[in-house]
Structures are given as C-alpha cells and as structure tokens.
C-alpha cells in the first residue's frame, strides 16, 4: 500500500470492487463520458449477477453490453481488448439459454478449494494429504448417523431461519 497501488486482488475482491466500490470511487475524478462508461459497465455486471432476472429485459441488456463495449473502444487503448473483454457480449445469451449467473459461477467452488487447501499438512505431498483427510471426514460423517446420543455439528443452520420464511433471499 505504500505507493498507493492495488496489488494481488483475489477474485472476490474484484467482485466487490466491480459491483459496489468502483462506482463510488471514480465519482468526480474522471472526465464525464469516461466515468459514465465505467459506471455503466459496473451497473451491467450488477444487473447480470442479480438473483432474479426479468426475461423481458434481456434484449435490452444485450444491447447495453454491445454499446458499452463500443464506448469503451472510444476511450481505452486497443490492447485493453483481450478475449476476456470480448466474452462480455456472450453473457446475456447464456443467461437466456441456461440460468441466472449465480447458479453457474465459481465462487462456491473456490470457497471449497480453500477448505481443501487447509487440509494440506505435508507440503511435499499435498494431494495425498487432501485425499486422506477428505476420506476420513466422509467416513466420520457417515458413522455419526448411527450414533444416536451424539450431537453432530453437521451443516450449520442459517441464523435467519424462521425470521425470513417466505420472503426470498
């Protein structure tokens, strides 16, 4: 942080930056047209990551993505446009055919990977330690079903259970 640079961002950091912080951070520092484009990009990401998507608004969203990329082309250098930027165009098509994005993204799997990473006790053989501990845990979880007097941790319960029944989220 010494020379005021952002380094080593994790993917979830980028998620929060893109959805919430960047919008606020660029207020009043860039020329108006550039600022608007970046804001629209953030809002576009916000819109496709929503849990509830209106299917009638998808066409509008697709147009928005295309216009956005054209406007980015006006202000950013050409080397900015690698294949990842191009893929933004195809998001809305996949939402239309498959599902909302939150059912298909990688965040839960990345979180699971963190748990697996904690399993490594012998750094020389990381895979073997993961396998061993995973099997042990599965076995213990199975055997606890047959022990009636044990209080199992199991799957944690939601804190909001009962309070928010039938209200979504």
């Amino acid at each position: 942080m010494e020379d005021l640079k952002l380094m080593g961002l994790k993917s979830h950091d980028c998620h929060v930056l893109m959805q919430d912080l960047l919008l606020v951070a660029i207020r009043g520092i860039l020329p108006k047209n550039v600022r608007q484009v970046i804001t629209r990009l953030c809002l576009f990401f916000n819109a496709i990551c929503r849990k509830v998507i209106d299917p009638t608004g998808l066409d509008e969203l697709e147009n928005e993505a295309i216009i956005l990329l054209c406007q980015l082309k006006m202000y950013f250098p050409p080397s900015f446009f690698d294949i990842m930027v191009h893929l933004i165009i195809h998001f809305v098509r996949e939402i239309r055919i498959c599902d909302p994005v939150f059912l298909r993204w990688m965040y839960p799997i990345e979180r699971c990977m963190k748990i697996f990473k904690r399993y490594v006790k012998n750094p020389y053989r990381p895979e073997a330690s993961i396998v061993e501990r995973y099997i042990v845990e599965e076995a213990i979880e199975l055997y606890t079903m047959y022990m009636s007097e044990v209080n199992v941790i199991g799957i944690p319960r939601s804190r909001y259970e009962g309070r928010k029944v039938g209200k979504g989220t």
Binding site: I38, K73, V85, R104, E127
Partner: protein
C-alpha cells in the same frame, strides 16, 4: 451429484483430460440410457432415476482443454469461432478483439462513425452463434492420440480434438455446452480497468506501444508519443486519473 477428483502429477493434463474423464462419462451414459433404481423416502417407493449433464463450468483455459477448441490466437472466441473479428497489434505484439460494432443494430449511429473507431464504417452483421450440431460436424473427423507423442506438423485446425463429451448422445443437441465463467471474466476485466486507471506498472494496458498502435490504426492522433530530446512524452489520455 458432487464428485471430487484429484489428478496427480506435477503438470496439468491439458488435452489429455479426456482420459481422466472417461469413467465419469461411462456413469453419465448409464444414467441417461438406462437409469438406476433410487428409493424415494417421501413416497416410500423406488423410482427410475435418469440424469443428464447440463453444462460444465470452467475458466477459459480449461474451456479449451475440455471442448478441444482453440482459445488463443486469431480465432479465440469459441462462440463466434471462424467469424471472430481480431486485430493484430504490431507494436504491442498482441491480438486484440475489437470490432464490436458488428453486433449493433443495423441502423445504429455508431456504425457510421469513422474516426472514433478504426477509420471505416461497419456494415457486417453479427455472426450467428455456433450450435452443437456444427461443432460435431467439425470435430468428428479429428483424430488424436493422447499422452506424450511427437508433435506432427499437420494441417492447422481450430479444433484440437473430438471432446469425450460427444459420446453422450444428447451433447451435440445442447446450445450451450460449456459456460463462460462470470467470475473469471469479471476478475480479469476488473484487473485491467483498475490497472489502466491507476497506471500500475505491469498491469496497465496503456504505454508507449499502445500509443504507437493507435497511430498505426489512425485513430486519436492527439495521443501519439512526442519525442523530447532523449525522452518521450506521452500526452495524458482521457482515462488518466487526475488527483
């Protein structure tokens, strides 16, 4: 169904991932063709469970390994495939994928602008997305030997292999076979935006080569590098942050 799999070895399997996937594919075929008997605790009865693979989620390099498509070079986009519009940057030595104007509606005013974009009007239409049938027709001729082989200099093909998923009878009828992962795209876009805005060394997409490329393309000539004696002066672009 949740299945964890561990592939050992110091290197990634790359295109040989099909070998590791074949047991999974066998199970999936069984589940689709015949199904298995499963006990339903609510109804207190057995029923026949069938299952299909809906789509796979992976990051972009893995997309190339699973589908056998090439995800780099001039035909990198797996959905536009042959119609990917690319531009080779001479000074930056990169391929960039511009020409998004072709996706616009026919009468959009941006199609007629010249100087703002690349110096010419755009009259191409958007490429139709690739369907599963077309992909199957392209890959069914490709033969590949897995494992370490001598690289033979054959014909260059966009499709590297016939993916093992095509052994599933319904796979070529799906429209989206592999999803583009939003997380990875978002991270990379965010990285390049923040790197360019804050001018982080090594992350920024702007620089002397990018400016030279702009001159080559003939757009935004006011940004071209100006030599001042030994040094070169880069005029500030509109995305340079003023503090």
């Amino acid at each position: 169904m949740m299945l964890s799999m561990m592939i050992s070895g110091p290197r990634q399997p790359g295109n040989d991932i099909d070998v590791y996937l074949s047991p999974l594919i066998d199970d999936l075929r069984l589940l689709w063709d015949e199904g298995i008997e499963v006990f339903d605790a609510h109804e207190k009865a057995n029923f026949n469970l069938r299952e299909m693979l809906f789509c796979t989620i992976n990051d972009f390099p893995a997309y190339g390994n699973l589908s056998g498509d090439s995800v780099k070079g001039h035909r990198a986009c797996p959905i536009c495939e042959e119609n990917t519009s690319y531009h080779q940057l001479k000074h930056g030595r990169k391929t960039c994928y511009i020409g998004h104007r072709r996706f616009l509606k026919r009468n959009h005013p941006y199609r007629r602008l010249k100087i703002t974009f690349n110096g010419c009007q755009e009259d191409r239409t958007a490429p139709p997305p690739l369907t599963g049938k077309e992909v199957y027709n392209r890959v069914c001729q490709v033969d590949i030997t897995y494992g370490k082989t001598l690289k033979h200099s054959g014909v260059k093909n966009i499709w590297k292999k016939k993916s093992i998923f095509f052994e599933l009878p319904y796979w070529s009828k799906l429209d989206v076979r592999h999803c583009i992962d939003v997380m990875h795209v978002k991270k990379n876009v965010c990285d390049s935006i923040i790197g360019t805005l804050l001018n982080i060394k090594g992350k920024t997409k702007d620089g002397i080569n990018a400016r030279k490329d702009l001159v080559e393309m003939g757009v935004r000539l006011e940004l071209q590098p100006q030599p001042h004696g030994k040094r070169t002066y880069l005029p500030p672009d509109c995305h340079t942050v003023k503090i």
